[in-house]
């Protein structure tokens, strides 16, 4: 087993866990130190929770991502181009 540490804070050497960290004066806001380890059960639960919906309507479109390849296809098929141009990739991080 290999262990790597970078810029290890004094905070990390503290033994406090997320469960016993103090509350703010209003009792609502928790001050985090380290997060509890990801259990096997939690790992499986979150893998499901973080699955994208394969049946989302936007996925029913055969999106192209190469504008000139699409231009050539549109020329051949005599169809117009519909361009969904965003800040951040619409099929990626937006």
């Amino acid at each position: 087993m290999r262990t790597h540490r970078t810029a290890l804070l004094a905070l990390l050497s503290a033994t406090a866990s997320a469960q016993d960290t103090p509350l703010d004066s209003d009792g609502a806001s928790r001050v985090e130190t380290t997060a509890p380890a990801v259990s096997r059960q939690r790992f499986d639960e979150l893998r499901i929770t973080l699955q994208p919906n394969p049946d989302a309507p936007w996925r029913s479109i055969a999106w192209r991502i190469d504008l000139l390849a699409a231009q050539r296809e549109a020329s051949e098929a005599n169809k117009p181009l519909f361009i969904w141009a965003m800040d951040g990739h619409p099929l990626g991080c937006t």
Binding site: M1, R2, T3, H4, R5, T6, A7, L9, L11, L12, A18, S29, R30, E32, T34, A35, P36, A37, V38, R42, F43, R47, T49, L50, P52, P57, W58, S60, I61, A62, R64, I65, D66, L67, L68, A70, Q71, R72, E73, A74, S75, E76, A77, N78, K79, P80, L81, F82, I83, W84, A85, M86, D87, G88, H89, P90, L91, G92, C93, T94
Partner: protein
């Protein structure tokens, strides 16, 4: 994600795009800057719309002929409006079909290297998803469509891709943990991208990072904090790998932790600390989105791959 989950739910629009158009999705931050045939063609189309200053965003929906004549531009995501505008533009396209000369195909030519990144040869592509867990607090009701947009953002799954290099792939396959890969994952992918384009973490905002490998598992813990104290993420992570014939055939990572704060383009975060989870899983290359560069690499892939840089 607002457009994904709002505009493209209109069945009439979907039908028009499927049957009568060649649909293209792109991050206009690339095409409006590209000094090559692709950028030139994009600017020819976008320059006929209201966003002609290519120093700023040209985002929106465009419908254009294959020779670059703009038939429609709109930057309003309301599905019924986009459907109506597309239908009208298609009618104009059809009406001129008899007299329009055939469009000539445009060859790629030499691509602008800064804006034409490809996944690292021999490396790995990981699909990345992010979700705010536990919901958002009740807020005062706002009128439609803003109420619907808020509902979409508050239940959204953030998407991105993560790239690992050939050297990192080899290291993972030989039982090591490449620190560069872990640093890249935490800096560029442990972000809250569920409401828009997020700020990434700078190298000096990784306050602590600890990880270890035990067989085919990697466990770790990270604390990230913006220098201006506007954002923070404290998370543990667990990855499971499978190796066959010197290649990684499975890579599943889950990060589970608490986040606070928001970025300029990700407003509306829950107050205080909120639970945020991130998953990374090996892409199989069957989804066209697997070829999209990571958001954090935009315009500077070298800076993304070399995580010692800011």
């Amino acid at each position: 994600m607002l457009d994904r989950e709002s505009t493209f739910t209109d069945q009439n629009l979907l039908q028009s795009l499927r049957d009568h158009c060649i649909p293209v999705a792109l991050d206009q931050a690339y095409e409006r800057r590209q000094e090559d045939a692709k950028g030139e063609f994009y600017r020819r189309i976008a320059g006929q719309g209201p966003r002609k200053d290519f120093r700023g965003s040209t985002q929106g929906f465009y419908l254009a002929t294959a020779d670059g004549e703009l038939l429609m531009y709109n930057n309003n995501r309301r599905p019924e409006l986009v459907a109506r505008l597309v239908r009208a533009a298609l009618e104009r396209f059809d009406a001129a079909a008899e007299t329009r000369p055939a469009a000539q195909p445009i060859e790629d030519g030499e691509p602008d290297p800064q804006w034409s990144p490809e996944p690292p040869d021999g490396g790995l592509v990981l699909r990345t998803h992010t979700r705010v867990l536990g919901g958002y607090p009740e807020r005062a009701e706002s009128p439609e469509p803003r109420r619907e947009w808020r509902r979409i953002m508050e239940t959204a799954l953030g998407r991105d891709n993560c790239w690992l290099t050939r050297e990192e792939h080899r290291a993972l396959a030989s039982g090591e943990v490449p620190g560069s890969a872990i640093r890249r994952i935490v800096r560029f992918h442990f972000v809250d991208n569920t409401r828009g384009e997020p700020p990434m973490w700078r190298a000096n905002e990784v306050e602590s990072l600890e990880f270890e490998r035990d067989g085919d598992q990697i466990r770790g813990n990270v604390r990230l904090r913006a220098k201006d104290d506007s954002r923070e993420y404290v998370a543990a992570f667990l990855a499971e790998l499978a190796i066959e014939d010197g290649s990684v055939t499975r890579f599943d990572l889950i990060a589970d932790g608490s986040f606070r704060g928001e970025g300029r383009y990700t407003p509306g975060a829950p107050p205080d600390w909120f639970p945020l989870a991130v998953s990374l899983t090996l892409a199989d290359g069957h989804d066209v989105a697997d070829r999209i560069p990571p958001q954090g690499s935009r315009g500077w892939v070298r800076g993304y791959l070399d995580t010692r840089r800011d």
